[in-house]
């Protein structure tokens, strides 16, 4: 059984190489290999359903063993990885046909899959980090294949990723310095014996790496660009799967390496949740709200979905950070659900772009008649995303609300609701602008996407129903996972939650009242604004984005213009701008630094003399270095 983990992990990599080489023979050889191996990986996953395979040693390094493992928690994420990757490859076949460098594209696609699979299967921190880095830069190469703008976006992405990864690296190295073994078990043992300061350092540094990937505000700035500029089939992979690696990492960090009790010991527990987790909860909640507002402002459909992803991953992180069995279950479940419906929506918009060539919502409209399947997919997607029964998003969001209620974290609950309510606004905009309304003249000959591109839409739409109606399917694994982490799972049935459990005692009144408050907030914002206002044709306000000639936005068709006016002040200090300023400062500083190299011989030789003088001086004053 041990070897099989290696086989599983190797599958996508081997597939990638074979697809690359096969592509040199014929494109269908390439497709065959790509589809076959991604499907194979997906099938192999099911052999590990509900099992825990520990510590398959695949190498040794610096005295530490490198191990692979799988457990129900990582299985969930491995499942998402392989499943969505398979669909992405299916979708790609028509979508990117005819582009240059396709062999490389599929190689990268399968390598990203392999890297993400590696993260989920990692049993020690070196392996984890190695695949984490591999994921970052292989996905970088995918992103920058999306055209001119994608290069800038990719650059931002890789820089942020590397910063995050390095932060994580420091945390890992700190542990290595003490434990000399980085197998998860040893890590958690070490952390349980370490001083609070050490644990906090570890927590923060490791967490930053994960937050960047999970795009938790304020470390999210790479995501809107990267997800929207990436090639159509890559966006679902990024939004659906890649950012979930952050969620997986957080789960492992919070409950694998540490535990609620341990985190609780780090600081006085006056809050419903241990302090560190509480902070994470707040960051997640802020992400939910702000990203929602930003999503509302977007003209670009993919950008809209990208901001939506930030908001939705906020729910996942919020759930996971809560520390309660229900919250964690909700978070994990939402991770799965988000993977499904967000990928679905990206596939849909990918299809639209494939047919119309644009993703600017103001240029689209009325596609419902031309692309009915896509419309249905979009409908399923937005319904699921908004958390409306009976689709899957409803269940997981409801679990999170309930968990918040249990903990009496009212503010967070309100913020979560605001996020949901806001989601209605942008999703309505999305489906209205694209599929409803008037069909522009130039798109009157548009056809439905080809079958291979429809297939993922069908499958994912079906899954939103499946997991909505039978949440027990997912809860089965999640519960096993919670058990694995040492958390008592909540009770569940195939169709939902049995009587007498937390979920069954839904305090509908409470939830409703919070929901009403949320509506009032949104309405108030709406009413506060003048109805008409002259708007410049080229308003350069860019919602916290870099204002460069390429990214100048045209808001003359602003659908939710008023929102922009409201939240403008909030984003005056936008995180992105802060990074920009910081980068600029670094650059200026660096520019000064390099002026040391003047090119003048006399300066260079004087450096030598000065250096020796210092030593001589030290010697003359008594040979004390400090």
């Amino acid at each position: 059984m041990d070897m099989s983990l290696g086989v599983l992990l190797a599958t996508p990599f081997v597939g990638g190489i074979l697809a690359y080489l096969g592509g040199k023979i014929h494109r269908w050889v390439r497709y065959t290999f790509a589809i076959l191996f991604s499907l194979l990986a997906f099938i192999e996953i099911f052999f590990f359903y509900n099992t825990t395979v520990g510590n398959y040693v695949w190498g040794r390094l610096f005295g530490s063993v490198l191990v692979l493992q799988i457990n129900p928690i990582s299985w969930i994420f491995a499942f998402i990885v392989t499943g969505i990757s398979f669909l992405v490859i299916l979708f790609s076949i028509n979508d990117v046909e005819g582009h240059k460098g396709l062999d490389f594209y599929y190689l990268e696609l399968l390598f990203v899959e392999g890297a993400m699979l590696g993260i989920t299967l990692a049993g020690d921190l070196i392996t984890f980090f190695m695949f984490w880095e591999l994921m970052s830069w292989t996905s970088y190469f995918l992103i920058i294949q999306g055209g001119k703008k994608s290069i800038t976006a990719g650059y931002k992405y890789i820089i942020m990723s590397v910063i995050g990864a390095y932060s994580m690296f420091v945390a890992i190295a700190m542990v290595f310095g003490r434990a000399h073994s980085l197998v998860f078990k040893n890590v958690s043992m070490l952390l349980s014996q370490s001083s609070p300061a050490f644990v906090i350092w570890f927590f923060v540094l490791f967490g930053i790496g994960l937050f960047v990937k999970a795009a938790v505000m304020p470390l999210h700035t790479w995501l809107p660009d990267a997800h929207s500029e990436a090639p159509s089939p890559v966006s679902p992979l990024l939004s659906g799967v890649l950012i979930k690696m952050g969620a997986y990492g957080l789960t492992v960090l919070f409950y694998g390496f540490l535990s609620v009790q341990l985190i609780g010991k780090l600081a006085p527990t006056i809050l419903p949740t241990p302090l560190l987790l509480y902070i994470v909860e707040w960051l997640a909640a802020i992400s939910i709200v702000l990203a929602t507002f930003l999503a509302i402002l977007q003209e670009d459909a993919k950008r809209l979905l990208a901001y939506s992803s930030i908001s939705q991953i906020g729910y996942v992180v919020l759930g996971i950070a809560m520390g309660s069995s229900l919250g964690i279950a909700g978070g994990l479940f939402h991770a799965l659900n988000h993977a499904i419906f967000k990928s679905l929506l990206f596939f849909v918009i990918g299809g639209v772009i494939y047919r119309t060539g644009t993703r600017n919502m103001s240029e689209l409209g009325g596609l419902i008649k031309k692309m009915p399947v896509s419309f249905i997919g979009a409908l399923f997607g937005i319904v699921a995303l908004s958390g409306v029964p009976p689709l899957n998003g409803f269940v997981s969001k409801w679990m999170i609300y309930e968990a918040l209620l249990q903990k009496k974290e009212v503010f967070l609950l309100i913020m979560a609701f605001v996020g949901s309510t806001g989601a209605f606004l942008y999703l309505y905009r999305f489906i209205h602008s694209v599929f409803l309304g008037q069909l522009p003249e130039k798109y009157k000959d548009v056809k439905e996407v080809p079958f291979l591109m429809q297939l993922p839409i069908w499958i994912l739409s079906a899954l939103t129903i499946v997991f909505g109606i039978w949440p027990g399917l997912a809860m089965n694994v999640i519960a096993q996972g919670e058990k694995f982490l040492g958390i008592t799972p909540i009770k569940y049935t195939l169709y939902g939650f049995p009587q007498g459990t937390a979920m069954s005692s839904l305090k509908v009144i409470n939830i409703s009242s919070v929901l009403i408050i949320a509506f009032i907030v949104v309405l108030a914002l709406y009413l506060m604004l003048p109805k008409e206002r002259f708007v410049s044709q080229y308003d350069t306000y860019a919602a916290g984005q870099v204002v460069t000639p390429e990214t100048k936005y045209n808001y003359s068709y602003g659908f939710y213009m008023f929102f922009g006016r409201v939240i403008n002040p909030i984003f005056k200090w936008s995180a992105d701008k802060m990074y920009e300023a910081w980068a600029r400062a670094t650059k200026v500083f660096g520019d000064y630094m390099r002026r040391v190299y003047t090119g003048n011989l006399e300066t260079y030789s004087s450096y030598i003399v000065v250096l020796i003088t210092i030593v001589a001086f030290v010697l003359l004053i008594g040979g004390k270095l400090w």
């Binding site: 004087s606 003399v609 000065v610 020796i612 003088t613 030593v615 001589a616 001086f617 010697l619 003359l620």
Partner: protein, 237 residues
Amino acid sequence: MIRKITYGIFLGIIVLSLILFFAAFPFGKNKMAVGKYYLKNDINQTGAANVVTAVTLDYRGFDTLGEVTVLFAAATGVAILFYVLEEDKKKRERQVYPNFVVRVGSRIIFPFILLFGSYIFIHGHLTPGGGFQGGSIIASGFLLLYLAYPGERVNRSKLSVVEGIAGITFAGLGLWGLFTQGNSFLFNFLPKGQLNMIFSAGILPIIYIAIGFKVASEFAGIVDDMMCEAVCSGGEK
């Protein structure tokens, strides 16, 4: 000005610290450790009357190989820097009118310089001279010839061959000692002979002769390059 004073002070500090350091090992004091060993064992180990030569070529012969290599590299480097295409060379050649006294005088002195140089490196193991000094003297003879006949050049191919063969002789002798005799590079496998005779000190005189040839040809090459540069590009600026 401030710059000058500053660096003056800095260098003063450095000199002071150096004085401080060497105060512990004063001038004229015997500091020998390995040196004693050489003075004691020179005659029976190498048979060279001049201990400096014994050190240079035997105990530290490996250094000398390096030194020869450095010179070789420098000569090659100069040749690279002054490399001019053959056509350019001809174009730039100019007739120069040298002093008659210098011209004829040099012609007559030149053979004696060669002889003297040879004398110096052949007696390298007996007197303070050696391959380097002898070689330099011979090269200075070439310099003299250049001063007398600025337009002419030595045959560079021949020089190159001489320096190559001399180098091969040195390294080859070292390897010969390594492979056939004492399993040690530059092993002195020839008889040590009688002190103060030319045929003494084993391979040392051979090495010094090789060095003499090598140094002579290399310095001559450098001189050739420099003079050619001076003559050929004289009218350019």
